[in-house]
């Protein structure tokens, strides 16, 4: 029967969630959210930051990686309440004023992007890696990416892209972040 709707139940949460204050990509953001929600859901569905992906929900694939105070975490394993008071960086915050971050440019230039689903998480992990270790060896780069699964590229061009950015910084004598 067309249009048959079996039953509309009452909303599960009777009380509207309180306002949560987060700092995301350098800006204060306010939204109704429950501290017990997962950070990945608050970012994606509460703030519309769909650059944060979900690939597994168990902290294995790294597609949901965001930076908390500059350190990479799986946002699928973080309660939103735990992110209050910290600086959250998502992929949307990596480029500034329409200008790509050097890592983003390098990924484009070196062919390190295929389907692109792992890419936001991978870029943030790469950024955190280079911020902590200015001149990583190839093994250190690989270690820095163990939390980000990529099924498309075999990692070769991803590593080359990261090496090119590290190399360019080295030649510039350190460089900015």
């Amino acid at each position: 029967m067309a249009g048959e709707v079996t039953r509309l139940s009452a909303e599960a949460d009777s009380a509207a969630p309180a306002v949560m204050h987060l700092r995301v990509n350098g800006s204060p953001r306010e939204l109704p959210a429950h501290p017990g929600e997962r950070l990945v859901d608050v970012l994606r569905y509460g703030l519309g930051l769909t650059g944060v992906k979900e690939g597994c929900g168990t902290g294995q694939c790294g597609a949901c990686t965001v930076l908390l105070d500059g350190r990479p975490v799986n946002s699928c394993l973080v309660f939103a309440g735990d992110a209050v008071g910290h600086e959250i960086t998502t992929i949307e915050g990596l480029s500034a004023d329409g200008k790509l971050h050097p890592l983003q440019e390098a990924f484009v230039k070196h062919g390190a992007v295929q389907c692109g689903f792992c890419t936001p998480g991978m870029l943030l992990a790469a950024k955190a890696l280079l911020d902590e270790n200015r001149d990583p060896t190839e093994e250190e780069i690989r270690r820095g990416l163990t939390g980000n699964l990529c099924r498309c590229t075999g990692y070769r061009k991803i590593i080359e892209a990261i090496q090119s950015v590290a190399g360019a910084r080295r030649r510039r004598g350190g460089g900015r972040r």
């Binding site: 599960a12 017990g36 997962r38 902290g59 990479p72 799986n74 309440g81 955190a128 270690r143 939390g147």
Partner: protein
């Protein structure tokens, strides 16, 4: 069942304990790396999460006298990057480096890893051979015990209702002590060990006789365990390759592995022998280098 538990944010251990007592279904919250997936699947249904991460007393790596003090909510990343750990207890940094991924290292806590008490957990082994003690606080007051007494079975610890782990204390290794860890895994990161071992040996001034030996095994028993037989064989004797081989055999015999989707019991037992032999040799080499679990 719905993924929206209440979260309380105590600032002191006392407040945390009161909250844990306040309600049935109140559980401590540290890294959440196991909790959230379990909640998603409907397997864990906590009513109240008592967030321990804002309690200053539980955070961070520091010293307590000459001992290393690891606050319960210290993340594995903090352990890995701590200069104190790197210089004084470097085997801990090595194990931390091979733990999970950069992301999970920033979330998982030392206390959480110990309290989860999975048979293949990484951190217990070096802590066991370094003779760590675990500090606990609860309604009946504070207590401390050797870490070796803390693990009671699969996901079972000595914690009583309402108790919290506050810190792990690792004594300063004596002179001429070396420690090493190793594990067998199916891929080089993000895998559970099918067998793991750690050893710490302290040499006598002659540089050859083993004054003290500690051997710990992981993933081959319901809980991380020490191999008393291997330790007894080694202590007081010169550490030759053949002695270490014998000790490794004893350790393998003492293990109680099971077969599961990752490996059979037989393979795990055999790997225990290989790993104990290797970590003993490496620990002895490091001890001979004159360090205190140094290089």
């Amino acid at each position: 069942m719905l993924l929206r538990p209440e979260i309380a944010e105590p600032e002191t251990v006392k407040q945390a304990m009161a909250l844990l007592r306040s309600r049935r279904g109140a559980v401590p919250l540290a890294g959440a790396t196991d909790l959230i997936p379990a909640m998603r699947r409907g397997l864990a249904k906590p009513r109240l999460l008592v967030n321990l991460k804002r309690i200053a007393d539980l955070r961070g790596v520091g010293r307590a006298g000459t001992s290393l003090r690891i606050g319960a909510t210290t993340t594995v990343a903090e352990l890995l990057h701590s200069p104190i750990v790197k210089t004084g207890w470097p085997v801990l940094a090595e194990v931390a480096r091979d733990f999970g991924s950069p992301q999970t290292r920033n979330l998982a806590t030392v206390g959480g890893n110990l309290c989860n008490a999975t048979p293949s957990a990484d951190l217990p082994l070096p802590l066991l051979v370094l003779e760590a003690r675990i500090g606990i606080t609860g309604p009946a007051g504070k207590r401390e015990m050797p870490l070796a007494e803390f693990f009671r079975g699969v996901n079972k610890t000595a914690l009583r209702a309402g108790e919290l782990v506050t810190a792990i204390l690792v004594p300063r290794p004596s002179a001429r002590t070396g420690a090493a860890c190793a594990k067998v895994v199916g891929r080089r990161a993000m895998d559970l060990a099918v067998a793991a071992a750690a050893a710490a040996v302290t040499l006598a001034p002659d540089g050859q006789t083993c004054r003290r030996a500690r051997v710990a095994l992981g993933a081959v028993a319901p809980a991380p365990m020490r191999s008393a037989k291997a330790e007894a064989m080694l202590e007081g004797r010169k550490l030759t390759p053949s002695l270490m081989r014998e000790a490794a055999k004893l350790a393998a015999a003492e293990a109680r592995p099971v077969s599961d989707l990752r490996a059979t019991e037989a393979y795990r037992r055999e790997m225990t022998e290989v790993l104990v032999r290797r970590v003993l040799a490496e620990a002895a080499r490091r001890a001979g280098g004159g360090g205190r679990d140094g290089r």
